[in-house]
């Protein structure tokens, strides 16, 4: 398909230029400045459709301008009765057939990409070996995002780290209303539906960077504040990040005394909902790498002032309708400050958003992350007897595979 498309390259160049000139927003957010495979493919499709459509538009406008100028009744012109044309079969056939052809040109890559984006089978190496899949369980909640890395025992919220140059697979579900997961510069969006149906998609970042994600389906008052980040780091850094995250435990004690005090207060007042480390608790956002966050609550500047206001007011005015306002805690100023001090120590290691912006590229095949891969028989395609009963220790794992099979069946139909 790529070769077929390249024939249009000259025209593309023109259209791309036009698009770029018209100002495409910020590279971390704009779908017009793709930084991921999906966004790139969609961008090509967009350009193709724009070119086709511009062609149609130009034809229409040429006729239109000509007609309006030529046949406009001028001042003082004699009132005449024009010829009453009934129609013209040749012309009518022409403008039926040409659009059909143009649409077919667009329909072919549309169908192809639709299937490609829905395909969540493992990537293969040049030799045809299947690579390990990184699956992330995404949970959308009113107004934040939770992420669990399957088999890696890493949980985080608001910001996901992904390796560049590698497909990362998402399995998405919502705990309340419908949300939609959108990282415009990496990949198109996918709805996150409540219970019963896991939607799957994949991300493939081409460059390191901090990419901005948005919720694209109206989900309540703070719909517009449900932002998250996708932090694409090089594979080696990703491996390091996972290891760092795995080592975190909520028992880790901070150095300063006030922070220790804050930790105790945190344990008494916050741990019911929040978690530090790979806890399954996802009532509120997981705070394992809180101090490394780009933004507080996805949208606010990460500073102690904002954080104070958030804890003090439970985010009531900052994120209208957020569910933390029901939290029963009651803290005084000093206590809040102590908690803030503790929270600011929550930085598991060296890998943080900065590594994405300024880090050095470190290559890795990520095999270190999947040591038991051989025995587990995760991808049962090769080892037919790789039984799914054995590793059905997690319910989500099971349903995951079910829906995976389902979608495969479907694409066979």
């Amino acid at each position: 398909m790529k070769g077929w498309m390249s024939r249009f390259k000259a025209v593309f160049a023109l259209a791309v230029l036009a698009l770029i000139l018209s100002g495409c927003g910020e590279p971390f957010l704009s779908a017009l400045q793709p930084r991921g495979d999906g966004a790139e493919q969609i961008f090509q499709l967009m350009v193709l459709s724009v070119v086709i459509m511009l062609f149609v538009f130009v034809v229409v406008m040429i006729i239109y301008v000509f007609v309006v100028i030529k046949f406009r009744r001028k001042k003082g012109q004699e009132d005449f009765i024009p010829k009453q044309t009934e129609g013209n079969h040749a012309l009518e056939t022409l403008w039926t057939v040409i659009p059909i052809i143009l649409l077919l040109i667009l329909a072919v890559p549309t169908v192809q990409y639709s299937f490609e984006f829905a395909d969540v089978s493992p990537e293969t190496t040049a030799e045809g070996d299947e690579l390990d899949q990184i699956w992330i369980d995404v949970t959308g909640k009113q107004y934040w995002w939770h992420f669990e890395y399957q088999d890696l025992e890493v949980s985080t919220s608001q910001e996901i780290y992904i390796p560049t140059d590698r497909k990362v697979y998402l399995s998405m579900i919502s705990d309340d209303v419908i949300h939609s997961f959108w990282v415009p510069s990496i990949q198109g969006k996918m709805d996150v539906n409540p219970t019963g149906n896991r939607n799957e998609m994949h991300l493939h970042a081409q460059e390191e960077g901090v990419y901005w994600g948005k919720c694209a389906e109206l989900c309540g008052p703070s719909h517009s504040l449900m932002d998250f980040k996708v932090i694409a780091v090089s594979p080696g850094e990703f491996e390091q990040w996972v290891e760092e995250m795995q080592e975190v435990s909520e028992e880790d004690v901070p150095e300063s005394e006030t922070a220790q005090d804050g930790q105790e207060l945190f344990a008494d007042n916050c741990l019911a909902c929040h978690a530090v480390g790979s806890s399954p608790n996802k009532v509120g956002p997981n705070l394992t790498s809180f101090a490394d966050r780009v933004n507080l609550a996805g949208v606010f500047e990460m500073n102690e002032e904002n954080l104070f206001e958030w804890i003090d007011t439970k985010g009531e005015d900052m994120k209208p309708g957020n569910l933390m306002v029901d939290a029963p805690y009651d803290l005084n100023e000093e206590e809040i400050n102590n908690i803030i001090e503790y929270l600011m120590t929550l930085s598991p290691g060296e890998i943080n958003p900065d590594s994405a912006e300024n880090g050095v590229y470190q290559d890795s095949d990520l095999s270190g992350l999947f040591p038991e891969e051989e025995e587990e028989g995760e991808d049962s395609e090769e080892e037919e007897d790789g039984d799914s009963e054995d590793n059905g220790d997690e319910e989500e794992q099971e349903s995951e595979e079910d829906s995976e099979e389902d979608s495969e069946e479907n694409s066979d139909e």
Binding site: N197, D406, S407
Partner: protein, 107 residues
Amino acid sequence: MANHSNINDEKREFYKSRNKQEMKMQVYTFVMMIAFTLVAFGLVLAEVDAMFTIPIILVLAGVQVLFQLYYFMHMNTAGHEWPAAMIYSGIFAAALTVLALATIVWW
């Protein structure tokens, strides 16, 4: 309105006999419908294989509906072109709706 009562009487007789004919058809239709219903219930009660039963009972239901439409509701007589067109459009939209909700609500 009309004084030609003779002609009217003749006409009426003709209509009457035709209506009677039609009524006979409708009774036959009714008997068929009862028979179809018996078959449908019978298939299910006899616990015949579902893959076989379901298409059969759906077809039986479809035929019964056509009986109703064409014989009981007289869609087979003249002056029913628009009603037929609208009913079939309705069936078209209905079929799409049912198909969609029955199949792709999830995938």
